[in-house]
């Protein structure tokens, strides 16, 4: 174990500089990060860069094809849908919703799962038993079905989607964090912390949690990808926002009806979902490689 610990460079909490350099040397981190940044910028600056109002209808301009096709309408890069709404603008505003849900749902799931995972792993005993059994029971439910039931019970809307994702996926965080906490607890620095007289909760939050953090960053990124998909699924089945609001899932659902006349209505939002989820997964995997050797001392 002594040799393994002597890995040069540092994990994220070790030396910010060296960790950043190693991330920039990882192709998946750079590629995934770049695509994520692209969507994030589009989402943040949506009002500035969207060429049209995403809900503004123009019935004289139905089914305008994208710019690369014949008869493309100037000013409508990706064409228009059945109500003459600008696809590009709708995709940009859709990114806003997708990323908002991804960040908040992953954060909520992460907070809940991490807190319970830390407690289970550190305290052990009956606390661990209760939390672990709860996780097992929870994971026995099929995730998508459970989320549809949850949203149906809470009523449609963005907050329901976020709560549903968090309520289902906290178990992912909980299991991994519990295992890592148990591993960290065995490290001598925890015994040292006890012998200098630090309290149990201080040791858990201030000594152990920082060492679980690299793992949490990876989990968070992967969870964002899952949240994007779940949000798309829920809006596809019309359980998310009202249908005139541009989410990628509703766009796919709407486009499905006109897939013969205007296939781009369905293809473009699908491509957006795929690109964003791929980017998040690549980023997560890349971060795992960058942070892993230091994490597993």
């Amino acid at each position: 174990m002594a040799e393994a610990a002597a890995v040069p460079g540092g994990s994220l909490p070790h030396g910010q500089g060296s960790a950043l350099r190693r991330m920039l040397a990882n192709r998946r981190v750079v590629l995934g990060g770049a695509v994520l940044l692209f969507f994030a910028l589009a989402a943040v600056f949506a009002p500035l860069i969207a060429p049209h109002d995403p809900v503004e209808q123009d019935l004289l301009l139905q089914y305008a094809p994208p710019v690369w096709a014949d008869r493309a309408e100037p000013g409508y890069l990706f064409g228009t849908d059945n109500l003459g709404r600008d696809i590009l603008s709708r995709l940009i505003y859709g990114a806003q919703i997708a990323l908002f849900v991804a960040v908040t749902a992953a954060a909520a799931a992460g907070l809940l799962g991490t807190a319970l995972g830390l407690l289970a792993g550190y305290l052990g005993g009956w606390v661990d038993t209760v939390i672990s059994r709860l996780v097992e029971i929870w994971m026995a439910f099929p995730a998508v079905l459970l989320s549809i039931v949850l949203v149906a019970v809470m009523g449609t809307g963005l907050h329901s989607v976020i709560i549903a994702i968090a309520a289902i996926d906290w178990t992912r965080f909980c299991r991994v964090v519990r295992a890592e906490t148990m591993a960290q607890k065995q490290q001598d620095y925890v015994a040292s912390a006890v012998t200098v007289g630090l309290g149990r909760m201080h040791i858990l939050w201030r000594e152990i949690l920082p060492n679980v953090l690299p793992l949490l960053i990876v989990l968070f990124t992967l969870e964002m990808g899952i949240a994007v998909i779940v949000e798309a699924i829920l809006s596809y089945v019309n359980l998310s926002l009202a249908s005139d609001f541009p989410t990628w899932g509703t766009m796919i659902a709407d486009g499905r009806k006109y897939v013969n006349q205007a296939p781009w209505l369905m293809i473009l939002p699908i491509l957006c979902v795929i690109a964003l989820v791929l980017a998040l997964n690549a980023l997560g995997d890349g971060l795992k490689d960058v942070l892993d050797p230091v994490m597993r001392k």
Binding site: M1, A2, A5, A6, V7, G10, S11, P13, H14, G15, G124, G125, Q187, D188, Y189, A191, S192, A193, V194, T195, V196, G197, L198, G199, R200, E207, P210, N211, L213, V294, K297
Partner: protein, 310 residues
């Protein structure tokens, strides 16, 4: 075990630490497995006390019991540990925390894992000072620099800002020693503090522990398997096998004229600088087998006595 609070005046022989007939077992599903059998040892103020034994002798467990970090399944089935005259085997978490730092300290075995990888060296030392001595940020920083200087770390200002993984094993162990001595504890448990280091660094670290001990006047319980190290640093020695004390006494007497066959066998198995030509003799298996039998016989007798008591 019954007398939880004995006034300091009543401490046997003015010891800072007094382990009295300590019995400890690991609780299993069916039965308890005895680990410590009637262990007694005394450490006077300012004394360096060696605790020697092979792996599995229970020496580390004694250190852990003193520090209150024994595994949760370990049960103290008899005896007591008096620190400064008070039994510390059944302290609450709050009482235990108050005792740490200023009362007890630890020099851990493996410097690779004993420092928190997430924090800078300076912060880890300063935290201890602020916790126990109530120092403010500036005072704690000044004292941290002083401590790093005391443990012979060059460029303490730079090391202050470094993370544990940026330091060598020897450097980290120096930092651990600085943390152990930071609040001037009365007793430090050094759990094989040189085992994980290479031989050249071992000697420096040993010398450093001895120097810090003389400077601060702390007592040290020095847990090791290496009689050579004991001969260098310890005033008195307790030899342990199978969780039983076989022999205890002044280092010189134990090393030169041991009364116990096992200690002599252990000596023959230890490389000696003063006799470089000698072949090392492994401890004979017949001897360890006999000692194990004695231990089991003791368990049976102890269990029988326990049932009679009710």
């Amino acid at each position: 075990m019954s007398a939880a609070r004995i006034p300091p005046a009543g401490t046997p022989g003015g010891s800072i630490l007094s382990v009295r007939n300590l019995h400890l077992a690991i609780a299993g599903r069916r039965r308890h497995t005895p680990i410590l059998r009637d262990v007694s040892l005394d450490i006077a103020p300012g004394e360096v006390h060696g605790l020697v034994g092979e792996s599995g002798a229970g020496k580390t467990m004694i250190g852990k019991v003193i520090l209150g970090i024994q595994p949760s399944r370990a049960r103290i089935t008899g005896g007591s540990v008096l620190f400064d005259g008070a039994d510390i085997t059944h302290l609450s978490e709050r009482e235990r925390r108050r005792l740490m730092g200023r009362g007890l300290g630890l020099i851990p075995q493996d410097p690779m894992t004993s420092l928190n990888p997430a924090y800078r060296i300076g912060g880890q030392i300063a935290d201890v000072l602020r916790l126990h001595l109530g120092m403010n940020r500036t005072a704690a920083r000044a004292r941290t620099l002083e401590l790093l200087h005391d443990v012979h770390i060059r460029e303490p200002e730079r090391v202050l800002r470094q993370y544990p993984h940026e330091l060598s094993g020897g450097m980290r162990q120096r930092v651990s020693i600085a943390i152990a001595f930071a609040c001037r504890p009365k007793l430090i448990v050094a759990d094989e503090p040189t085992t994980a280091l290479d031989v050249t660094v071992q000697r420096q670290v040993l010398a450093l522990i001895k120097q810090m001990q003389a400077q601060e006047g702390a007592s040290i319980l020095f847990v090791t398997h290496d009689l050579g190290v004991v001969a260098k640093i310890c005033d008195r020695v307790t030899v342990l096998h199978g969780g039983r004390v076989l022999e205890a006494g002044d280092t010189r007497r134990i090393v030169e004229a041991s009364q116990h066959e096992y200690t002599r066998a252990l000596m023959a198995a230890t490389p000696r600088h003063d006799r470089p030509g000698d072949l090392l003799q492994p401890v004979p298996e017949t001897l360890t087998a006999r000692l194990d039998e004695e231990a089991l016989a003791y368990d049976a007798a102890y269990a029988a006595a326990g049932t009679h008591d009710g």
